[in-house]
């Protein structure tokens, strides 16, 4: 009777899988709330470490490992998602990623003596967030909305979805980070208007312009740079400090992982302080030596000016594509830790001629928005709808290497395009379609997405075959391709070779490998759920004992209740959720008449208060 009807429906969590920090949020009735981690911190640093015994450590604990065991620890893995080795060569100079041999199609990073793909590393972070959510919400969590930078391409989005699947999460939707932030701000309270969302995170920059109308958030245009963020600022400071140390101590520390990571931590401290004070010190201790350097805000701003300026071009392009002038923008929302920097705020204010919103914590706003989107999907939030766009044009490579654009950037998604293909040579049975993403005219300058091999075409005279191919970008911004033989109406078989990232088979294998973990996770979630229910009933009975109805019970009945309470408390800390559940049922049973008495006296009380 004291047991609350437990909501059997799985809760959907919103997850911000960030470059620097990740966090999960859920919709508590109607209000999105951040779910704290095991250590009580809301932010889980996106750092993963593999201990010598093979245990995965994520978050704050792994951050310490970054200094103690840099060779078994990785951060900013988001920068590698959906990318090839060639793409990241430049970054390898700045980030201590150790890339394994033979990483052509999919990068493999080395942690200790093992290698992992970026989606697998991201999955470790997601698994931690899943666990945190299960503990906090007291039940299994298997569905999620995950956010991605708006400017992420198809391969980066697929990699994020793969990470979710590997972590045992059904990814109901990928939502663009700036759009999620707009949802979190609940700017729908304003009935109509144009909003700009400026999102400068640890590793990525996005700008989105939205039109708001009666709860519909329609993205007009988006732009950005998937390799621009706070990390770049850290690297500037780090370079200065390393050079200082070299000239002061006559020693080059840039190849000692432990030293670099310690110094990185110290420059980040100084950077963060500079958002609030006019000058801060970088202080670094290494093997008994001490380095100290004062950085004034003026020096700092001179150092990062070009980084801040690099965000302004995409902002102007975005306004042009959206067809709005700065005067038409009603509100500006700031997202991402780097927007705490006064110079960034100043630049945004000048560009958009509006004072930016900073009421919500820029580190949390994206996850909160993802939780709202989860509510939209589950039906808990009504009358709000996101209409997002695809950030990059989709094209197919034509004869001569030119690109024919079939879905233009900033098209509202889902979006589709149909093309009919035929054969060029008599008796030809295959047609190869190369799909690319980007704005450049030559296919080689765009991002290769995949090659589709339409095969098994009946041999006939050149130009007679008619294969209708439909390209559809879904609400996640991910491409789906289907093909049909127009002559027979039958589905056309094809092979898909993604240019970057994992094949479906590889993802399946990784899911398989993680099942062992899933079982552990499941048990932990069940235990957490049982404890939450135990807390509920123990609290309710405790309160009932102060009710007059308690005294109406016989001594024997009271003893029975006390006994059941003790037994439940005894098993409470065990890891056997079935046992906890059993004792909850026992307590529920013996408090039956107590609950009835209370109910009756409540009814009597209510009747007494009623004037007849």
């Amino acid at each position: 009777m004291f047991q609350i009807e437990f909501d059997n429906q799985d809760k959907v969590v919103g997850i911000d899988l960030g470059t620097t920090n990740s966090l999960a949020a859920w919709l508590n009735l109607t209000k999105p709330e951040v779910i704290p981690g095991e250590d009580g911190d809301k932010l889980v640093p996106s750092v993963v470490s593999l201990t010598e015994s093979g245990e995965v450590v994520v978050g704050n604990a792994a951050r310490q490992e970054l200094i103690d065991h840099p060779d078994r620890t990785i951060y900013s893995v988001k920068r590698l998602m959906g990318r090839g080795v060639e793409d990241v060569r430049e970054e390898l100079n700045l980030f201590p990623f150790r890339i394994a041999e033979g990483s052509e199609q999919v990068i493999r990073v080395v942690l200790g003596d093992k290698t992992f793909t970026p989606p697998e590393v991201s999955a470790m972070i997601l698994r931690q967030l899943k666990k945190n959510a299960e503990t906090a919400l007291g039940g299994p969590v298997s569905k999620a909305v995950i956010t991605v930078p708006a400017y992420f391409n198809d391969a980066q989005r697929q990699a994020t979805r793969d990470a979710g699947r590997i972590a045992g999460l059904e990814v109901l939707r990928l939502v663009n980070e700036p759009t999620a932030a707009a949802l979190a701000y609940g700017l729908d309270k304003r009935k109509e208007g144009v909003i700009a969302v400026y999102d400068l995170g640890g590793g990525t920059f996005d700008i989105s312009i939205l039109k708001l109308q009666d709860g519909i958030f329609e993205v007009l245009a988006t732009n950005g740079d998937t390799h621009l963020g706070g990390d770049d600022i850290d690297n500037r400071l780090l370079q200065i400090a390393l050079e200082d140390v070299r000239s002061e101590w006559g020693e080059d520390l840039s190849h000692i992982g432990e030293a670099v990571q310690t110094l990185r931590r110290d420059v980040i401290r100084a950077k963060e302080a500079l958002s609030f004070v006019p000058a801060a010190n970088i202080e670094f201790d290494w093997q008994g030596r001490h380095y100290k350097r004062e950085i004034t805000r003026e020096l700092f701003e001179g150092l990062i000016k070009d980084i801040v300026d690099r965000t302004l071009g995409p902002c102007r392009d975005c306004m042009r594509d959206a067809g709005v002038t700065p005067e038409q923008i009603d509100e500006v929302v700031m997202v991402g830790g780097s927007t705490r920097i006064p110079m960034v705020r100043g630049a945004v204010e000048v560009l958009f001629r509006a004072k930016p919103h900073t009421e919500l914590n820029p580190d949390e706003v994206v996850a909160l928005g993802a939780a709202v989107q989860a509510g939209i999907l589950s039906g808990a939030v009504e009358n709000q709808l996101l209409l997002d766009v695809t950030p990059l044009s989709l094209g197919i490579e034509m004869y001569g290497g030119l690109v024919s654009k079939i879905i233009h950037r900033n098209s509202t998604i889902p979006a589709s395009a149909g093309e009919t293909f035929t054969t060029a040579v008599d008796g030809q049975t295959n047609v190869l379609i190369h799909v690319v993403q980007g704005e450049r005219e030559l296919a080689k300058d765009c991002r290769s997405l995949a090659r589709f091999d339409l095969k098994g075409i009946a041999p006939m005279t050149a130009g007679f075959a008619r294969i209708e191919v439909r390209f559809l970008i879904d609400a996640n911004g991910i491409l789906n391709v289907t093909a049909r033989d127009a002559r027979t109406g039958k589905e056309q078989s094809m092979d898909v070779k993604p240019s970057y990232g994992l094949t479906d088979e590889q993802v399946e294998a990784m899911i398989e490998a993680s099942i062992d973990h899933a079982e552990e996770d499941y048990t932990a979630a069940q235990v957490a759920g049982a404890r939450v229910d135990a807390d509920t009933i123990l609290g309710a009975v405790d309160k009932a004992k102060r009710d007059p109805a308690w005294l109406d019970l016989s001594d024997e009945e009271r003893r029975g209740v006390t006994d059941a309470i003790n037994r439940l408390q005894l098993v409470y800390h065990s890891n056997d959720y079935e046992l906890i559940r059993k004792q909850i049922d026992v307590l529920n049973e013996v408090t039956h008449s107590l609950a009835e008495n209370m109910m009756n006296s409540a009814v009597r009380g209510a009747l007494k208060g009623t004037r007849v």
Binding site: R173, L377, L385, S411, T412, P414, A415
Partner: protein, 199 residues
């Protein structure tokens, strides 16, 4: 032909089946989809209202707890909705769509050949584009082309109304001729406005 609901078999189901409320496969005709007459001139404010109203009914977000088949129809219908809105809200794209439906597709042709009355203009523009000091002439040409395009747009309005009233082939042919010319001039405008800044 949509003759029966895929889910319950009810006859003439429309967008949603009146009997079981299941979403049906979408019509691929943009005008039919929006339930508006096949007109070249249309009220874009009304179109926007319809777009938002239909988005609220068809978006995949609203179908995440529905059966897989309905989810697919929601995805298909939303794609048609967005594609249709993108095309129908722009007068030129809308007219091109109607031309294609009527078998009068302009395609990539028509932009290669210089319309005779523009020969001299094009010659002069090309000369100016090659001359480093001819920036003012390029700007002048740009201005003239923009005025020409404006004229075409005004003429198109009249032709749109004519076809809407009659739906006859000759008036659509005139629309086609104007669009061809417009496309050519737009290319010239792009050419003239993409001159790199000279110091």
């Amino acid at each position: 032909m949509k003759s029966a609901c895929w889910n319950c078999g009810a006859a003439m189901p429309g967008r949603f089946c009146p009997a079981c409320k299941a979403l049906q496969p979408p019509s691929s005709d943009y005008f039919e989809f929006f339930e508006i007459p096949r007109h070249l001139a249309l009220d874009t404010d009304d179109l926007e209202k319809r777009f938002y109203a239909l988005s609220r009914k068809l978006h995949p977000d609203l179908f995440s707890r529905k059966p897989a088949r309905e989810q697919q129809y929601s995805l298909d219908a939303s794609a048609v909705l967005n594609d249709a809105y993108r095309v129908l809200k722009e007068p030129v794209a809308r007219a091109m769509y109607v031309l294609k439906q009527e078998g009068l597709d302009i395609g990539e042709q028509g932009t290669k050949e210089v319309p005779p009355e523009l020969l001299e203009e094009v010659f002069e523009l090309n000369m100016a584009l090659e001359d480093e000091d001819a920036a003012p002439q390029v700007e002048e040409a740009l201005y003239r082309f923009q005025a020409m395009r404006q004229e075409i747009d005004t003429a198109l309005q009249i032709k749109f109304a004519a076809w809407d009233a009659s739906h006859d082939a000759p008036s659509l042919g005139e629309v086609r001729a104007l669009l061809n010319r417009r496309k050519y001039i737009t290319n010239l405008i792009d050419k003239a406005s993409h001159v790199p800044d000279r110091i």
